[in-house]
Symmetry: D3
Subunit: 134 residues, 6 copies
């Protein structure tokens, strides 16, 4: 769960580019992961070989974006004090990005795998928004 | 304003890749535009020439992403019936993408220009969520 | 056959990057669309599964470039007076980019769909060159 | 002015992706090089430091595209018999791509350097169209 | 000088794409970081504003590649048993990617910062090759 | 096994970006080509259609990177005196990049084709290191 946007102070800064601009939001990873899940569902529901090939092509790209957005949060947003407060955070990101890769939703078109990925992103998101309020 | 996520039915689908997956969200354009605004503010606040050059490099990339995300919504999400219902929609997207480009927040590091861009995105977002509920 | 370059006036200008440089040319979209058509023809003519998978991978990329080049023309080259003179222009671009996407030549490997895309680009090109002479 | 498309024979084929699709056209490199030249002219004509920084950012990208389009022609379109017929072709491409790079129009914002690049592309284009007619 | 290739056992495998192919090599990150260092040195040695702007543009790209190659190693090559054996590994990668980003060699054109980055990559490389021999 | 870094002279320079930074290394092309070979082997060893489609997607990307890294060496590192000393160099690069493309390891998933590519890269690498010592 995320604070509705009208409750987040406009000064809530973050940074998702490397200026850094200070605008981070786990929604970026989540949206791509939702796409991965939807693609997996459509893949399973289709028997058209052209559609299924396209689904695998596009799922590969979207899962790569999940990895990228998560890596950016892990390296650019989270700082040593966060890792001290949340000792599981390193492993959580490592598992989440693995779940977006070959051993997860890249290697599998099973929507259940995409769901596991979404759950990990939700765990990260929860911690993210806690640190924003701290 | 957007419905808080826990109020949006999990079946709220959309599609932001060209499968299409059915996962669209104007938040993607908005987050990049918020980055453009934050970069512009930091640019104005700095007198370090290296920092300012980096700010222009990164603003160029982020504004390009704004354009891309808006173009995808315009071409891939919105359908002829939407354009019939919202006759201003074509011009709105054209103005918004121009505001992200050379005549807008690429060509200018004025946060007020980025604010105009964010307002256009908010107008688009409002229409988007109306069509999702229809 | 093409007009030899020494017969094309050096003042033929345009603009396709966001400086803007002022160098626009619908040929960029057309060349990619011709590629999409040729890929579709080769796809239909082949029964080699590896070749056909590669054709779908590459057609996806080329069709994305068609969309991008058209979006750039629509946002960056055409100005409000053009849209006033050509009231069909917004819809024309929207239909053309849709024809390059999932509902068109991305979703289909039918050369006839690529032909429809080429015709839309030709319509745009005709208007483009009229505006250059105005 | 350009030859209207209905006067260009539909059999003008080529190939620019690695399927290969068979659609090659040196116009792709030329258009980007014209952009590089126009950017250089605008750079020289401006004294606005923000504009000039943006010009260098964008010129870098456009010149990279020139290199890419030329490399594709050299590797993918031209075949051993062409190199036998045009023994200068290897050096011509090497010089042209160098003129697009650090020692040429990337490293310099002098429009005269961009002109040299355009002349090399014209030489390549002339040979290209000769081989298409052979 | 490098070991001639015929002396490197053909079984030296690794994996750097998400098939995964099994071909990983920290040299990819190191080469980009060496580029970052060389760019920083040339930046400091030059007083030409065009050259310096280009140096910042390119350094940004190369440092981004350092981050990407390191992230791939961290997520795709290293497995839970490695993290158990090398408990410092998570922090090491986090620090190394931070040193490639805004707080490190993106934000600074100081060759000493690039040197710190190279040292972190060397630490990672040492562990990497130990795990390959295990 | 690789030579430990502390044994490689720090003066081993090169240059792989277009500043130029002076950091070139044929290892970049070789690592991608090793990936292409490993992907081809895994493709042949698998009968899983999803895995095989993913292998073709990723092989396409990796082979493109091989072409890019080779093109950069050919245009940016090698200079006219090198081409005078090694008259076969142009053809060697042309053949190597063709072997990475549609007529080579893009068009074929035969590991033997990837091996031919690796051999060409090794020939280039040998010349490269000779010129570095000259």
């Amino acid at each position: 769960m995320r604070l509705p946007r009208f409750l987040t102070p406009s000064t809530v800064a973050s940074a998702h580019c490397d200026l850094p601009c200070g605008v981070y939001d786990p929604a970026q990873a989540r949206i791509e992961a939702e796409s991965v899940k939807a693609i997996s569902e459509k893949y399973q529901a289709s028997s058209d070989p052209e559609f299924r090939t396209r689904a695998l092509i596009i799922k590969e790209q979207r899962a790569e974006l999940v990895k990228h957005h998560l890596w950016v949060l892990w390296t650019d947003y989270f700082k040593p004090p966060h890792f001290a407060t949340y000792p599981q955070l390193h492993a959580l990101f490592n598992e989440a990005t693995k779940l977006a890769g070959a051993g997860g939703s890249k290697g599998s078109a099973d929507p259940a795998v995409a769901d596991q990925l979404l759950q990990k992103i939700e765990e990260i998101s929860k911690i993210f928004w806690e640190t924003k309020q701290a």
